[in-house]
């Protein structure tokens, strides 16, 4: 009881907790849940089950069924099922039989009793028993053929019995007979049943093989599978242990049965994935464990398809694998979708990452721009007062100072100059980076640019160096480009080269190259050089030799197709090499070479100074102009900086044109088809070859010896060369002697006292005031004389310079008045300086004029650039104050036109700009002088705003200085003091 009580709830609970997943009418135990046949027959009939080609190796199936675990299990299950059914039938029959036997037994007992009771009568009527048989026979017949009638007969008999007299012998006899008959019938029935049973038993024996049932079940299973699988993209197969197909079900067969059965995958088709598939199957076969895998096939048979395959091993009864079952489902679309999804997801992720990155970059860029803007503004703000300090120091340096004071002042000047340069560089950089740098297209002569740059460099040269320039004769006489920027780049590179070169030479080479590939992006045979060049920044030294070779090969090539780039198109690519024999650049430093504020090492920075911005600016400028700047270098051997730039060539520009336009430019510069500078010195600037230097110098003495004042003895090479001609100038020779001591040439650095004495004579070399120091030297008088003569030439020489500092510093000498303060005084009474104010704002004019009045100067006023040019055409001025931003023509352009006049000696440029030349009848003061070289009028810009009209731009356009607006008395005073002496 207790056990039962415990068991019951558990069973209940189990039932509750785990309700069957199966529908109630389905027996979970059965393999195939098929409804009773007949019930669903209609449904199945509606479904047309096409007889699919099922390839079946019947023999193998039998074997399978007989020998595999699975087969035997399935078989035994079927047999059990059948046995159960049969047993049930037997049980039912048996029960019936028992029933009958019991009935018979009862009947026998009753008969026995009756017989006991009526023994007598029975004995008496023995003969009737025989008759009884016949009756029974009759009854038997009746029962057999017409059972109902038999009953009737019996009833009749009974009636007959009733008819007989009750309780008579007859009655009892009849009754006994009647009972006998019933017994007989019962026995008969029993016998019949027995027979039937026997028959059934016989039938049973006949049905001993369950094939019929099995077949039916199998057929139904088969139909069911077909029904389920008829459109499923599934392949089912069985392969034996040699992986030969024994069975395959394939909805979309492409092969016939005979092509598959008995063959392996490898034999059936070929292509990618087949081998993998085969190997996978073999693996499963060997490991004996089912597994799934996705395999992509690419076969000729069915193209590119992906299958998800399931392979399970099949064991025989002994547990040995005898083959595999294989189910494959085609999932190509799903895989594609999945891949697409993955790709999409990846793209989305990338997109998002990019977005964040972009946002970050935008943020950073904005910040950077703001910072740069501020830096630019600040730099400008710093520059104005600083230039004040430097100018004051310069003025101070023109006064009499003792040695110590001079040394201090020199340090002050060089420091101030460095800071100014740094600020200029920063401004330049930030302008390029913020896109504010505008390029100008002006016609210029590359040869002149090279000449001027070298000339400028020579002017401040303090080393035993040869400066040289080679301009290949295929370089056009005139090209169009931003000459100021190009000069800036060249100057920067040259000064860099000089800085790092202690002996040997520094030079510029100019030649035409075909359009490089970084510009055209086409793969020509020239093109190969340039992508490498662009990367050369990172990895130069290793390629330098190649680079050099290339450059040579380029040269030869260029000569061949020299006409080609010029004739059809108006753009020509000119390559410029700036080479030196200096300390070179170590390989590991090249990557950072063009980075801002980077120098090869801190050691270098200390030793050579500089801001570390120069090369960065050069690179940015070159790139801004559409070119490339590269470097190749070998340590201790030298470096070559190379940049290639496109220039427009104006078709009218021809040799003949030029000579017409520029009558006063040295003929060699233009007319020579082959143009070359050789070991560079000031004295030889206008000469055509090294051999000519000495010969020609004396002849041109009156004009050119003065150049050595212009770029005073600081150039040792120059002086050495001059020394050899007979008597260039004793002063110069003196200077050579003292300056040949390299230490002494470094006049900026503080010297021991002994040297200082020597330096006195060579004081003309400090970077700032070649002339300032001259006042202290004993040669003043002769110098002034020569300067008087030479200043005109000097102006012409200097007017193209981009080195702003140089321009500013040369100014004092170039003005016709003396360079020394003492002399200014002496000249003052004679010279009433003529000042021109170019300004469109009436109030500004009024204020400036009033200020000028305070300084007791008179001033002409014009209102725009055109008027300014006309004013300069009409009369000569000693100083021009030029507003930058003006209607009609701005100050920059006006300055360029005036400079062009000074340089060229004619108003060609102005005429082109729409300003007619003054009529010759007017006999303007400049007109009659036109054959002579013109002096350079100091032009002071009046700027209002840091970035749009920056001081750089003023300098770049040929202005000498700038005064920021609003003009104050102090600023004006400085300006006048500086330029009107």
């Amino acid at each position: 009881m207790v056990c039962e009580m415990e068991d019951d709830p558990i069973e209940d609970m189990e039932v509750e907790v785990l309700p069957s997943m199966w529908p109630e009418d389905i027996d979970p135990g059965k393999q195939f849940n098929i409804e009773e046949p007949g019930v669903d027959q209609d449904m199945l009939e509606e479904v047309t089950i096409p007889e699919k080609p099922t390839f079946l190796d019947l023999k193998w199936l039998t074997e399978l069924v007989d020998f595999t675990d699975k087969g035997s299990a399935q078989l035994s299950h079927l047999v059990k099922h059948w046995e159960y059914k049969q047993a049930n039938v037997v049980r039912l029959l048996r029960e019936e039989l028992d029933n009958l036997s019991r009935q018979r037994h009862e009947a026998e007992l009753r008969e026995l009793r009756i017989l006991e009771e009526h023994r007598f009568e029975e004995d008496a009527f023995n003969g009737d028993t025989k008759r009884q048989i016949s009756v029974l026979e009759d009854i038997y017949e009746f029962w057999k053929e017409v059972p109902r009638r038999k009953k009737d007969v019996i009833v009749e008999n009974k009636r007959v019995e009733v008819d007989a007299e009750y309780d008579t012998v007859m009655y009892w006899k009849q009754r006994a007979m009647n009972l006998e008959k019933r017994l007989e019938a019962s026995v008969q029935r029993e016998q019949t049943l027995m027979e039937k049973l026997q028959e059934s038993m016989k039938n049973l024996d006949g049905q001993s093989a369950p094939a019929e049932d099995l077949t039916q079940i199998l057929k139904r299973a088969d139909n069911f599978l077909h029904f389920i699988l008829q459109t499923a993209p599934i392949v089912i197969g069985h392969q034996d242990k040699d992986l030969r197909y024994r069975f395959i079900y394939n909805n979309f067969p492409t092969l016939h049965e005979e092509d598959i059965i008995g063959k392996t995958d490898m034999e059936i088709f070929s292509g990618s994935g087949v081998k993998e598939n085969q190997e996978f199957k073999r693996e499963v076969l060997e490991k004996g464990k089912p597994a799934k895998r996705e395999v992509t096939f690419e076969t000729e048979l069915f193209g590119l398809k992906t299958f998800l395959i399931y392979v399970e091993p099949v064991f025989n009864k002994a547990g040995e694998t005898i083959g595999i079952n294989y189910v494959g489902m085609e999932v190509t679309d799903q895989v594609k979708k999945r891949e697409k999804m993955a790709k999409l997801r990846e793209e989305i992720a990338v997109q998002k990452a990019k977005e964040t990155e972009l946002n970050k970059t935008i943020h950073i860029t904005e910040e950077t721009m703001r910072a740069k803007q501020m830096l630019a503004t600040m730099s400008h703000e710093i520059r104005s007062p600083l230039s004040g300090v430097v100018s004051m120091a310069e003025i101070l340096s023109t006064t009499r100072l003792d040695r110590e004071q001079r040394q201090l002042l020199d340090v002050m000047l060089s420091s101030g100059d460095l800071v100014l340069q740094l600020i200029n560089d920063i401004l330049d950089l930030s302008k390029v980076e913020s896109g504010l740098m505008k390029l100008e297209a002006t016609k210029f002569r590359p040869r002149e640019v090279v000449k001027h740059v070298l000339q400028t460099a020579a002017a401040s040269l303090k080393k035993m160096l040869t400066l040289e320039g080679h301009v290949s004769d295929d370089v056009p006489i005139e090209v169009v480009g931003d000459v100021l920027r190009i000069r800036q780049i060249l100057t920067n590179l040259i000064s860099n080269a000089i800085k790092f070169t202690h002996e040997g030479k520094v030079g510029i080479k100019l030649y035409v190259i075909p359009e490089p590939s970084f510009a055209s992006r086409e793969g020509g045979h020239h093109a190969r050089t340039n992508p490498e060049q662009s990367t050369a920044l990172e990895n130069t030294t290793s390629k330098e030799e190649k680079n050099l070779l290339r450059s040579h090969s380029n040269i030869t090539e260029e000569h061949e197709d020299e006409e080609k780039p010029q004739a059809p198109q108006t753009t020509v690519w000119i390559r410029c090499d700036v080479y030196d024999t200096g300390i070179g650049i170590p390989e590991n430093a090249t990557p950072t070479l063009f980075k801002k504020y980077m120098q090869v090492s801190a050691d270098h920075a200390r030793k050579y100074g500089g801001t570390g911005l120069g090369l960065a600016i050069c690179k940015q400028l070159v790139e801004l102009m559409g070119g490339r700047l590269t470097v190749s270098s070998k340590e201790h051997m030298g470096s070559t900086f190379t940049f290639s730039l496109p220039y427009k060539v104006s078709p009218v520009c021809d040799n003949s044109d030029d000579s017409d336009e520029l009558p006063n430019v040295a003929e060699d510069d233009i007319t020579a088809g082959f143009f070359q500078f050789q070991p560079r010195a000031l004295g030889s600037l206008f000469l055509n070859g090294p051999a000519q230097v000495q010969k020609l110098l004396p002849g041109k003495l009156n004009g050119f010896v003065d150049d050595s004042y212009m770029f005073p003895a600081s150039n040792i090479v120059n002086l050495r060369e001059i020394r050899s001609p007979e008597d260039a100038c004793s002063v110069n020779i003196d200077a050579v002697e003292s300056t040949s001591d390299p230490e002494c040439s470094q006049s900026q650095s503080s010297h021991p006292d002994g040297d200082a004495a020597n330096c006195k004579g060579t004081d003309s070399k400090p970077p700032f005031g070649n002339s300032r120091s001259q006042s202290s030297s004993s040669e003043i008088v002769s110098r002034i004389d020569s300067e008087e003569r030479g200043s005109k030439v000097d102006n012409r020489l200097a007017n193209g310079e981009t080195l702003k500092e140089m321009q500013r510093l040369e100014k004092p000498e170039t003005s016709p008045e003396s360079t020394s303060s003492g002399k200014t005084e002496s000249l003052k009474p004679e010279m009433i300086p003529r000042i021109l104010l170019v300004e469109d704002n009436k109030i500004n004019v009024m204020v400036t004029q009033s200020m000028m009045k305070q300084f007791k100067h008179k001033m002409d006023v014009v209102n725009n650039g055109v008027e300014a040019v006309r004013a300069v055409q009409r009369s000569s001025y000693d100083l021009i104050l030029m507003d930058v931003c003006m209607p009609v023509m701005d100050g920059l352009q006006a300055t360029r036109l005036i400079r062009s006049f000074e340089e060229m000696g004619n108003w060609e440029a102005a005429t082109k700009a729409g300003i007619e030349e003054p009529s010759s009848a007017g006999l303007s003061p400049n007109e009659h002088k036109s054959s002579e070289p013109r002096k350079r009028i100091p032009i002071i810009a009046m700027t209002a705003n840091a970035l749009s009209e920056s001081a750089d731009e003023c300098f770049a356009n040929g202005m000498d200085s700038f005064v920021s607006k609003p003009v104050t008395l102090q600023k004006l005073k400085h300006c006048l003091e500086q330029y009107l002496r």
């Binding site: 109030i843 500004n844 204020v847 609003p966």
Partner: protein
């Protein structure tokens, strides 16, 4: 009022203009230019400035109300005004001009119009302040005193 008081009040007035950033030290430059040879220099310059600026502002407003605004033209007007206001030291007006110029470059008409409004206000302010200043100066001159110069 005594000359000294007048001078003091002018100083105070100028200092207050300076602290409000209506004027900057450039005005002192202007004052320095006034001497015997041009005793009314400041007044002359300021008068010129007033009429000139008034014209410019009118011109600006016309230019900005055109169908197609010529921002170059507008900018050149602004530049003019910037130059003159810088010359007399009208600091706030100058700053407005700088903003204006930026909006011109951006071709932002709406902002320009707004700036023009501000410019008018600034101009009227500086004009009234300077007129007041000139009044005091006149009184000082009438009282026989010299005009103190705004310190730098």
């Amino acid at each position: 009022m005594e000359v000294g008081e007048l001078q003091q009040s002018l100083m105070d007035y100028m200092n207050s203009l300076r602290s409000q950033e209506i004027l900057d030290s450039q005005f002192g430059q202007l004052q320095r230019l006034q001497d015997e040879s041009s005793p009314n220099f400041v007044a002359e310059v300021l008068t010129l400035f007033f009429t000139d600026s008034k014209d410019l502002i009118k011109e600006l407003s016309e230019a900005l109300n055109q169908q197609n605004v010529d921002f170059k033209e507008v900018d050149s007007c602004v530049h003019q005004l910037k130059g003159s206001s810088a010359s007399i030291g009208a600091q706030r007006l100058k700053k407005t001009c700088i903003d204006f110029s930026r909006f011109c470059n951006e071709k932002n008409r709406q902002a320009c119009l707004k700036c023009l409004e501000q410019m008018r206000e600034e101009f009227n302010l500086v004009r009234s302040k300077l007129n007041g200043l000139l009044q005091i100066e006149k009184q000082i001159v009438a009282a026989g005193g010299s005009i103190p110069i705004m310190d730098l």
